[in-house]
């Protein structure tokens, strides 16, 4: 079985698995990192949204063989450490606005929100309503309004 080496939440990991197994299943079924959720498996619902080298990706659509040893995968579990705190400002905003209902989509929502704010910042601008309309993460509980409020608040503290 081929070995694949990359970084997850600050640690170097090596897994023995076929190279075409998607990263989502390597994280969940092999490494036991269950924050990223399955919602569709075809990069549509965005419940598994995580970061690779700081950018939002969907691990359900990434063969593990595509990763390089230096690639840094960050899941919701590793997000607080990226700012050296117990909670990332976006997670704190989520708590302040009591966003989660069932909570299943929320790790992906938060990871997408953080990447969105970074992207806007890199473009030298703030978050717009058009940015928020463009988020594709589905929430079947319908927490969208609180998500929008939390992203605006979280962005203030990032």
């Amino acid at each position: 079985m081929p070995e694949h080496t990359f970084r997850v939440n600050g640690e170097q990991v090596t897994v023995n698995v076929a190279g075409d197994v998607r990263l989502l299943w390597v994280l969940r079924d092999i490494l036991g990192i269950t924050g990223p959720k399955y919602g569709c498996g075809i990069n549509v619902c965005k419940a598994c949204t995580s970061h690779i080298n700081g950018k939002a990706v969907n691990p359900c659509a990434i063969p593990v063989a595509d990763l390089q040893p230096t690639d840094e995968v960050t899941t919701i579990e590793g997000l607080p450490a990226t700012v050296g705190k117990d909670l990332h400002p976006m997670q704190q905003a989520w708590l302040d606005h009591d966003v989660a209902q069932c909570g299943y989509c929320q790790p992906g929502q938060i990871m997408a929100a953080v990447a969105l704010v970074r992207r806007a910042a890199a473009e030298g601008r703030g978050i717009t309503d058009a940015d928020l309309d463009g988020l594709r993460n589905i929430c079947r509980c319908g927490t969208y309004s609180r998500i929008r409020e939390a992203i605006k608040a979280g962005a203030e503290n990032m």
């Binding site: 595509d66 579990e77 989660a100 299943y104 079947r140 929008r148």
Partner: protein, 764 residues
Amino acid sequence: MTGSHDGGLNEAIGRRRFLGYVVAAPTLVVAAELGLTPAPDVRLPTPELTELLDLNDMMTAAALPTSGLISVEVNRDGTVSFALPRAEVGQGITTSTAMLIAEEMAVPLERVRVTLANARPELVFNQLTGGSNTTIATYVPIRVAAAIARLRLLAAAATELGSAVTDLTLKAGVIANRSGGSVDIGALAEKAASTRTQQVSVELTARENFTVIGRPHNRIDARDAVTGRKKFAMDLDVPDAKPTMVCRPPTINGKVGSVANLAEVRAMPGVTDVVTISTGVAVRAETFGQCIDAVRALRVSWKAGTAEGKSDETVLRKLEAAELPLGLKPLTPTVEGKFTFYFRSNSALEPNCAIADVRAGRAEIWSALKSPLVAKQAIAAKLGLPVGSVTVHVTEGGGSFGRKLFFDAALEAAEVSQRIGKPVKLMWHRADDSRQGRTHPMATSRVRAAYLGNTVLSYKQRHTSVSTDLGHGLGEIITAMAARLPVGDIGFSQTFFHLSQAMSYNFGAGSQLLSETDKSFNTGSMRNVYSPDVTCARELIVDQLAARMGKDPYRFRHDFLRDDRSRAVLAKVAEVGAWGRSMPAGTAQGIAFHAEYKAVSAVLVEIDCRPGTVNRPIRDGVAGPRVTKVVIAVDVGLAVNPRGLEAQMMGCAMDGIALALTSSLHLRDGYFLEASWDNYFYTRQWNTPPELQIVVMPSTSEEPGGAGELGVAASMAAVACAYGRATGTMPTSFPINHGTLSFTPKPTVPPIPPSPTDGLNHAR
């Protein structure tokens, strides 16, 4: 109903005084009977059955003679534990339950640990999560148990501190006397315990003294949710329970004929087992990714399903054939309408899933189950095991919307585990969940209202629906109770329909009847069940009646609503939403009302139907009219957690928008075309109203009403009414975009799509 109490143990003895128990245990355990609620207020029969007894009264009353005890435990570390015999699927009942305990025990909310109870057969009918009944049914018993704990702790502290109980105060989990002595309740957990079970009477905190109930609280599981620590069924680490998926038929409920390449698929990377089961061909592998590949590789010949050849058009004709007559048309003027509601999916974001470990003579199941008792019985029967040999753990659910009233995945996981003799972690692919999962049945609603001058003389509604499967325990409650209702010999669903549909307007004589047909589909209750469709049809006709009488839609409703509480929520949304303000052509307001679950709700929306908005570009999605503002006012009697109630109303608004405008299943050739969240258009961020305001009305009752589903019906209706006013035509088919197929259907063979490989190209 009132005579059904069991020997008086359940009865309130005087105002706010109730009986409960101290249970023999090493640390303090107190308990109360779950059926312990004030008896429903039963009046003489009237034509309006909901006035006699609503669905919640039935669900509450059904448990009275048979319910077991629920218990609150005080732990040595000063925390308080309670195993809630209900399912938390996002509706916030673990938080509201913790609030009830915190209130009566005077402990901080953070010290209360609420978990979900395993299936407890002794609870009989009383472990079903549905009908927005949880808080209604548990409000009194949980507080009684907590109040007894408080009494016992105070008594133990009196001994410990050498003070009279009357000199003690309990605050924030610490009991103090007047001379500065204090003790934490954790230190009293053993001292307050009892060696024998004894009955205790207790007085509950008066509402005017509440400090926790009725104030907004954030969810107790929020931190776990935002850090990824919250565990759903598929996140549990059950030894050797490996990923398992099922290759499913191309049409609804098709059966396996033969499999051409079993050996080949068994030899695929990671695959441990492949076995034919009653619903398809199950694959167990080291990862779900390898399950997906194996399912796609299977070459199966399929037998016909239960809906072979059926389509939207054939079902519509069948519904027409089953419609009950509206009777002779009166001589007075009438308003009539016929409305069609297509199939909709109650698929949650967490798909159907369960872990099963079936060994010789026993089975253990983990799944988010709203009817764990029925699941336990059904699984035992399927496996040929005694009911007592099946343990059913209720896990936190990733949404339900009615879907988790059933236990399709748990039954399937048990079957696979038994067949292969290994534990399995079984999950449905999204495509399966959408195509083979349960649906809200397609329905039509015919309405006729007769009027003369400024009086509505009669209102008749004939709702005709594909059969709704209620075989998840709610049906059993109704079976048990039906004989005690003055409704004669009618079936479950008709009873359910009558109990849930109040006639809130003074519309003279009338009747609302349900007829059902066609049991070939996998159906179930979907959030708010019949009410969104029935209410949507009614409110559209109400707008027509108002127009005929030359009245404003708000003023008309206000004039015809039956009571002050109803008028108050309607007036509130009109005020907050600035009803009647001037708006550009192609945009409009809509207003609607709905009463259910001992609660009332009103919704005002504004919609933009201008071409520039409707045709705005959305990749792989539906734009359509945009709801730009939603205002909701609700009166649920006593709101235990107003912040949680607001959250539920927000979700109800998103559901209502989807039901009116975008979300439906298309039936063709015996299967549903939708296989993805980019096919089934539930509300997304680009459909979300930029303005949302929710008003929780001041409490009008000592008792809480239901909230989890309350806002869906009026939201859907208000959107439909606004759309009608903006476009100048009354919509009659829902969702309004159903006639346009906005996606390319995925193949049915293989039944699930391939996993993409280009994820890194989309990093952003």
